[in-house]
């Protein structure tokens, strides 16, 4: 029996919970060389801005243990080209398009929302709050619950009512649960977690920061435990709010971990750089994990790790179920 993989994110339904993470899959064109992008739950685009952006100077990335540091700086063609070239291409291949947006002010976010609402075929808007707030000397919107709420509010106001708006949060904020609550109060239909973690590396040869600009965003399996803690905590505080979990998903079992912690869908980012077919492989492994556990519906597992321990847990205390296979 094939498990039912459909999941709901607010008012929309995805065929399965596996998505790409923003900025790690372009707009789908490159990955389509390796698999049929219509097969995954959705493709989340690189964050699009109003104007074209050249991004940050190279070196932009550095490898770190089980992770990477990056500072790409939102390089992209701007909303105009995105709507003319990238979105139609993605839709023509049958992809579900979640469009990530980034701006320097609530007004810019609102303009992006308006233009995406005028276009057709956008499944969801993901509001990347880890973008520098021009009015606040470049502090990220995510670091100020008030500013984040204003952005979410502006986007929700300009977005067509049938397009859900998800706010994407970063883990290094003073109080994640409070930020999550503010975003939901401001109209977010759901939350995406997590963006990259602040980090740095020094190149031991040049003796200088390894990525130009010094600080970068840490991503990949290294941060998975941080991301899981965020998803778990926010799901505990806001159990009705749909979450998209991400941060270091490498296997179907990792995706399952996010679902158990409270995510309704799971996005794959950095691991795509290692394995361009990662999303379909992870989807296959995730499905197999459900089969192995005799679980008929993926949706039933969302937040299962929060349930009071059953007899299985009790067993665990007496030496984990590792006796099983003996």
């Amino acid at each position: 029996m094939t498990p039912d993989l459909r999941v709901r994110l607010g008012d929309i339904e995805l065929a399965n919970p596996i998505m790409t993470a923003a900025g790690c899959a372009g707009s789908g064109r490159e990955l389509a060389q390796f698999f049929d992008i219509a097969r995954i739950g959705a493709l989340v685009t690189k964050s699009v801005m109003v104007e074209p952006r050249a991004g940050r100077p190279a070196p932009r990335v550095a490898e770190t243990p089980s992770g990477m540091l990056s500072a790409v700086g939102f390089q992209g063609p701007g909303i105009e080209v995105f709507l003319q070239r990238d979105l139609p291409w993605l839709l023509s291949r049958g992809g579900r398009a979640v469009v990530s947006v980034a701006g320097g002010s609530p007004q810019e976010y609102a303009e992006l929302a308006r233009r995406l609402s005028d276009a057709s075929g956008v499944t969801m808007i993901e509001v990347n709050l880890s973008s520098p707030n021009l009015a606040e000397r470049g502090r990220h919107f995510a670091h100020d619950a008030g500013a984040a709420a204003r952005v979410v509010n502006a986007v929700r106001a300009k977005t067509r009512s049938d397009i859900p708006v998800f706010a994407k949060l970063s883990p290094d904020v003073p109080d994640l649960v409070a930020l999550a609550q503010e975003c939901v109060a401001a109209g977010a239909d759901g939350l995406s977690m997590v963006n990259t973690v602040r980090g740095m590396a020094i190149d031991p040869v040049t003796m200088r920061p390894a990525v130009a600009g010094g600080v970068g965003g840490l991503s990949g399996p290294a941060i998975r435990p941080i991301a899981i803690a965020c998803v778990y905590e926010v799901h505990a505080a806001l159990p009705k709010v749909p979450l998209i979990g991400m941060g270091g998903v490498r296997t179907g079992s990792d995706a399952l971990e996010f679902v158990l912690a409270g995510a309704s869908a799971v996005a794959v980012g950095t691991v795509i750089f290692n394995d361009p077919s990662a999303c379909v492989r992870i989807l296959r492994e995730f499905e197999q994990a459900l089969v192995d556990r005799g679980v008929g519906r993926a949706a039933d597992l969302v937040g299962a790790a929060h349930r009071p321990p059953g007899p299985r847990h009790d067993d665990d205390h007496r030496g984990r179920p590792r006796g099983e296979g003996r």
Partner: protein, 297 residues
């Protein structure tokens, strides 16, 4: 187009050997071999399934053979953790490779005179190129340089394939003492070269390009900017390149390159965002009219 798209495969290692001071690995990879055109590269996952190293390593294809349905050889110097791991592979191990990646060297339609200039392991992609050029009846001359004799790659093969082969080493241990650019001018004149193909470190590409410009012949340069994915999704490998429209863009060397017209690469601005690049801070969309046409950086 779809026939040329890269494939990802788990390729068995056929042989591991030393070539000069480099390691050479040949893998069985029919899909890659049949699609390959010179200048393209492969990207390899290193360290196995539980590796802490997530980023793929890019390597030029040094040789392609029809055996076993198609084999691909690449050469490398141990540089960091990933190449150290590769150097420990043995035959029958599996390597997760993707290829062929990137845009190939453009080949001349006519049988012109080509000089191929390589620095260190940067010579690797020039060998399949030389063969392709020879098949088209082109004259091929080689100028290969390195820090010392043991790092000059493929001297024998160069002599076999080319009309002339000139070698330079910085320590003078082999061939001319100095850099490739110290010998290149003479070769261009002697061979009446029509085009330069080059691969090596960025400073060398810059000098070779400058020399090409001085001799008024085009330079095709294969750049090696730090890459994380090789497939175009990570945006790490950008280089400022001037387009046909005169606008500088930060282009991905893995998919828009790795081969570029040397004159279009803004070598002096590599590692920066030139103020006039498309989307640079303060950049404003201009009409075609008020944008000065520029052909070289």
């Amino acid at each position: 187009m779809s026939d040329f798209r890269p494939v990802q495969m788990s390729s068995p290692v056929l042989t591991v050997r030393r070539v000069d001071s480099y390691h050479a690995i040949t893998v069985v990879a029919p899909g890659v071999a049949e699609r390959f055109r010179s200048g393209q590269f492969i990207a390899i996952a290193v360290g196995g399934e539980q590796s802490s190293m997530l980023l793929r390593r890019a390597f030029a294809v040094h040789d392609v053979k029809p055996d076993y349905g198609g084999t691909v050889e690449f050469l490398f110097a141990v540089r960091g953790k990933g190449t150290a791991w590769l150097a420990e592979r043995r035959s029958r191990d599996l390597l997760d490779i993707i290829g062929p990646l990137g845009k190939p060297f453009p080949l001349p339609r006519d049988p012109v005179n080509c000089v191929l200039v390589g620095g260190g392991y940067g010579s690797a992609p020039l060998f399949p190129l030389a063969q392709a050029l020879r098949r088209r009846g082109c004259r091929v001359d080689f100028v290969l340089g390195a820090a010392s004799s043991d790092k000059v790659l493929g001297a024998m093969a160069a002599r076999r394939l080319a009309e002339t082969a000139t070698f330079t080493t910085e320590d003078g241990s082999f061939g001319v003492r100095g850099r490739v650019t110290d010998a290149l001018g003479q070769v261009i004149e002697d061979a009446r070269s029509d085009v330069v193909y080059t691969c090596g470190p960025m400073p060398m590409l810059r000098e070779v390009t400058a020399l090409g410009v001085r001799h008024d012949i085009p330079v095709q340069a294969l750049v090696e900017e730090t890459m994380a994915c090789g497939t175009g999704v990570c945006m790490s490998c950008v280089v400022p390149v001037v387009g046909g429209d005169g606008i500088t863009r930060m282009v991905r060397s893995c998919v828009d390159g790795p081969v570029f017209r040397g004159e279009r690469i803004r070598f002096d601005d590599v590692g920066t965002i030139p103020f006039d690049a498309l989307g640079a801070p303060g950049w404003k969309a201009r009409t075609d009219d008020d944008y000065p046409a520029r052909e070289a950086g």
